[in-house]
Symmetry: none
Subunit: 420 residues, 2 copies
C-alpha cells in the first residue's frame, strides 16, 4: 500500500515552523509496511489544498492520504472546506461532532464560543474521528478508491487520533512485513568509543541495521530489524538488543522513551530509597526531572533551590565563612549542600549541584563558565565530582548536562546497591 502525507499551514510554507508531524506519520506507516511516496505541504489556501487533495486522490498510486492541520476554529483553518470540495460533498453540521465538542468544553468547565461550533462541520457521509485531547474532531473518508484522513495539526492530538482512530480503520489493509525498531540510550560514554565496541554490528546492509546518534550527551543505539512477519522481526530484534546491552553494560540506562530520570526512578523504587536535592545553578531543573516521572512521590521528598548565597546558608546550613573563602561554586560548598540537604530532609540519598551556568559569571581560568560540582551523599559517605562542561555550551546546555550527570551519579550508586 502506498500513502501520501499532506501538511497544511502557512506557518509551514513560510518556514516559520518545521513540520514534525509528517516525519512521525511516515515512521508509523513505514513500520507497518505502508510505502510513503510523497509528503506535500501547502499553505492555508482552500483552493490549492483542494487541488492537491484531488490530484493525490487521482494518482492511483496513493491509496492512503493523511492530512494534518487546518481543522481549528479560526478563519485560516481551511481543511474542512478543502476536503469537502475535493470529495465533492457538502459540509454539514454533525450533531455527533457537535456533541463531542460540547462535551470537551463541559469537561473543562469552559464556555464554548460560537466560533468553536464550526469545528462540527463535516463533509456529508464522512466518518468522525473523536478528539479526546482537543476540540476539533478528525475527518475520515473511506471509499473503494482509498482512504482519506484529516487530523489536527497539534502533534499530541494528531498522534492520539492516528493511533486510536486511524490505525483500527487500516487494520488488514496494511501488509505483514514488519520493520521493528529498538533504541538503547547510553550515558557517560562517547559516541566514538561506543562505535568501536559495536563496530562489527554496524555494517551497512546488515539486518538488523544498527546506528548511533548523540543528542544532549545521551548516545542512542538504534536497531532496525526487518522480517516477513512480526514474530521473526521481534526475535531478530531481541537478539541484537541483548548483544548490544552485553557489550555496553551499565552505560545503557534505558530504552524506548526512557530518559535518565525514568531509569533512576525505577532503581529508587526497586531499592526502596528516598532522595532529596539541593540545587544552585540548575535552579530546580534536577528536582523537576526527578518529579516528572509518574509516581515520583514514592521516592522524592523535597528539593531546595538554594540560588542566592543566603538561601544556601538558611536552608542547608552552609557556613557563610566557607562561601566567603571557597566561593559558592566549590567542592566544599557542594559537599556541605549535599550533607545539609540529607540532614534536613531525612532522605536516604541527597544530591547537590553548584556551578556556573553562564553566559556570564565565569572567572577563568580557575572558575570558567561550565564549571560544576555535583555532590552525592548516603549513609556510606559523601562523593563530590567536578565537571568542566566547556564554555562553548549555552546556559541551557550546562544546566541540562549538570542534571544528567547528577542523575547518572545517583543511578550508578543505586546500581552498586551502595546506598544503605
Amino acid at each position: 500500500m502506498q500513502a501520501a502525507i499532506i501538511s497544511v499551514g502557512t506557518e509551514l510554507t513560510t518556514g516559520q515552523v518545521v513540520d514534525t508531524n509528517a516525519a512521525w506519520l511516515a515512521g508509523e506507516l513505514t513500520q507497518r509496511g505502508v510505502q510513503v511516496v510523497e509528503h506535500i505541504t501547502v499553505a492555508d489556501d482552500v483552493e490549492r489544498l483542494a487541488n492537491v487533495i484531488r490530484r493525490t486522490l487521482h494518482e492511483s498510486a496513493s491509496k492512503l492520504m493523511v492530512v494534518t492541520g487546518g481543522l481549528g476554529p479560526t478563519k485560516d483553518d481551511v481543511t474542512r472546506e478543502a476536503v469537502a470540495a475535493a470529495i465533492g460533498q457538502p459540509l454539514e453540521e454533525s450533531t455527533e461532532a457537535l456533541a463531542q465538542i460540547e462535551d470537551f468544553f463541559l469537561r473543562l468547565q469552559r464556555r464554548m464560543s460560537a466560533v468553536d461550533r464550526v469545528q462540527a462541520m463535516i463533509p456529508r457521509g464522512a466518518t468522525i474521528l473523536p478528539n479526546r485531547r482537543g476540540t476539533a474532531p478528525g475527518i475520515g473518508w473511506i471509499r473503494d478508491n482509498g482512504y482519506l484522513f484529516a487530523l489536527p495539526g497539534v502533534p499530541s492530538e494528531m498522534k492520539a487520533m492516528f493511533v486510536e482512530s486511524v490505525l483500527p480503520l487500516l487494520e488488514g489493509v496494511t501488509d505483514k512485513t514488519r520493520t521493528l525498531e529498538a533504541r538503547l540510550h547510553c550515558f557517560g560514554i562517547g559516541e566514538a568509543k561506543l562505535g568501536e565496541r559495536l563496530a562489527d554490528l554496524m555494517n551497512r546492509g546488515r539486518n538488523p541495521l544498527i546506528g548511533t546518534t548523540a543528542s544532549g550527551a545521551v548516545v542512542t543505539v538504534r536497531i532496525l530489524a526487518t522480517a516477513c512477519d512480526e514474530a521473526e522481526a521481534k526475535s531478530k530484534l531481541a537478539a541484537d538488543v541483548a548483544e548490544v546491552r552485553r557489550r555496553l553494560g551499565s552505560a545503557v540506562f534505558g530504552d524506548a522513551e526512557d530518559r535518565l530520570q525514568e531509569a533512576t526512578a525505577r532503581l529508587l523504587v526497586r531499592e526502596r530509597k528516598t532522595v532529596a536535592v539541593a540545587e544552585s545553578c540548575t535552579g530546580g531543573l534536577l528536582a523537576s526531572s526527578l518529579t516528572d516521572v509518574p509516581g515520583s512521590s514514592a521516592y522524592f521528598l523535597r528539593g531546595y533551590v538554594a540560588y542566592a548565597d543566603q538561601a544556601k546558608i538558611d536552608l542547608l546550613g552552609v557556613s557563610e565563612a566557607m562561601i566567603a573563602s571557597e566561593g559558592a561554586v566549590s567542592e566544599a560548598v557542594a559537599r556541605a549542600m549535599a550533607v545539609g540537604c540529607r540532614d534536613a530532609s531525612g532522605a536516604d540519598l541527597a544530591l547537590s549541584i553548584t556551578g556556573i551556568a553562564g553566559p556570564s559569571g565565569g572567572i577563568p581560568p580557575e572558575k570558567p563558565v561550565g564549571l560544576v560540582y555535583i555532590g552525592l551523599v548516603d549513609s556510606t559517605g559523601v562523593q563530590v565530582k567536578r565537571f568542566l562542561f566547556g564554555e562553548h555550551l549555552s546556559r541551557d546546555q550546562v544546566r541540562d548536562r549538570s542534571c544528567k550527570a547528577a542523575l547518572n551519579l545517583l543511578r550508578l550508586r543505586l546500581l552498586e546497591g551502595g546506598a544503605a
Copy 2:
C-alpha cells in the same frame, strides 16, 4: 513570484529524518517576497522525482523550483537523472564540474574515488553551482518558463550554495518586494476568542496576512506584511502589530522568541522585585523556568520543592491539621504555602503551586487529575486561583500549564505594579 520546494530522500519519506531544509529555504524566499506555495518530499526514486519536477514545472504558478538532496555520489542519489529527464536534456560530464570536484579533494588532501566522478554529470545546457563545502556541485536551469535549482541535501552545503549562487541569479526577479514577519505570543485567552477579536483582520488575501497558532496553551498571532520595499513592509507590519496589541491588551506577553519566563523576568527587573517559589506538583519546574533566563539571580532568591506533606510542614509552616482537613491540594494549602514561602525567603513576591499532575492520584469529582491551585502573595495580600486543566492532559502538560499559569499570574500582578 511563486515557488515550490522539493526535498529528496527516502530517509525523509520514511520519517527517519525531519526535513529542516525546506523550512529554511521557505523562510529565505518568503522574506524576499517569493510566495512558497508547496513543499514536496519524495523518496530516492528517479521516475517519481522526475514526474514531480515535470508536474511542478508545468503548474504555471511555480516560476521557481528548488530541489534539495540526491546529488551525492552513491546509487541512491537520483536527482541529476531526474532533473535531466524532467527538462529533457541528456546528462554529460562537465569538465568545469569535474575540475571543481578534483579541486575539492586536492584541498582536503584526500584521494578522489572513481565513484565521486559521477557528480560531474550535468544536464546539457545547465548552469553549474559551485560547492565550496562539499563535492557535489549544484545544478541551475534557467529558461523563460522559470528557474530550477538542484542543491545538495547537507544543510551547510545547501545554505551556502543558496546564498552564494542562487540568490545572485534571482536578483531582479525577486525584485525589492519584502515580506516581514512579526509574532505576538498570548496567554490566558483561547484561540477561538482571540480569533473573534481579530476576525476582520484575518481575512484571507488581506495584507498584512494575520493567522494564529496554539501550542502548549500559548496562542501566537503571526503577522506577515508584504510591500514593494522594506521600509513600506516595516510600517505596514508596525501598524498591524500596534493594532493587534491594542485589541489583545495584556493577553500579549511577548514577541519573537519570548516565553512567559522572559516576559516575567523583564518585569521583575524593571520593577526591581524579588521572587521565591514553593512548588508541589510542578516539582521544581517553576523555579527552573524562572532561573533559565540569564541574569535570574537579580530577582530569584530561592525555591522550595515541598513535594511530600512533611516538606510543606517543615519548610513552609503549613499546619498538619490543615493538610489533614483540607487536603494537600486545596486553596487553603496553596495560600499557606505562598505566605510561608514569602515569610521564610523575604522575597517581595512568592508563588505557590499545589495540584494533581496525574496520571493517578485524582479523586473525581471533587479533585480530578488536572486540578491545580496557584497562590500569589505580595505586600498587598494573597490571591489563590483554582485551575482545572482537564484529565485529557498528560502529567507533563499539567505541569507545564501550571507553571505558565503561575508565571502569568505573576506577570499580570507586576503589570498592575501591584507589588509593593
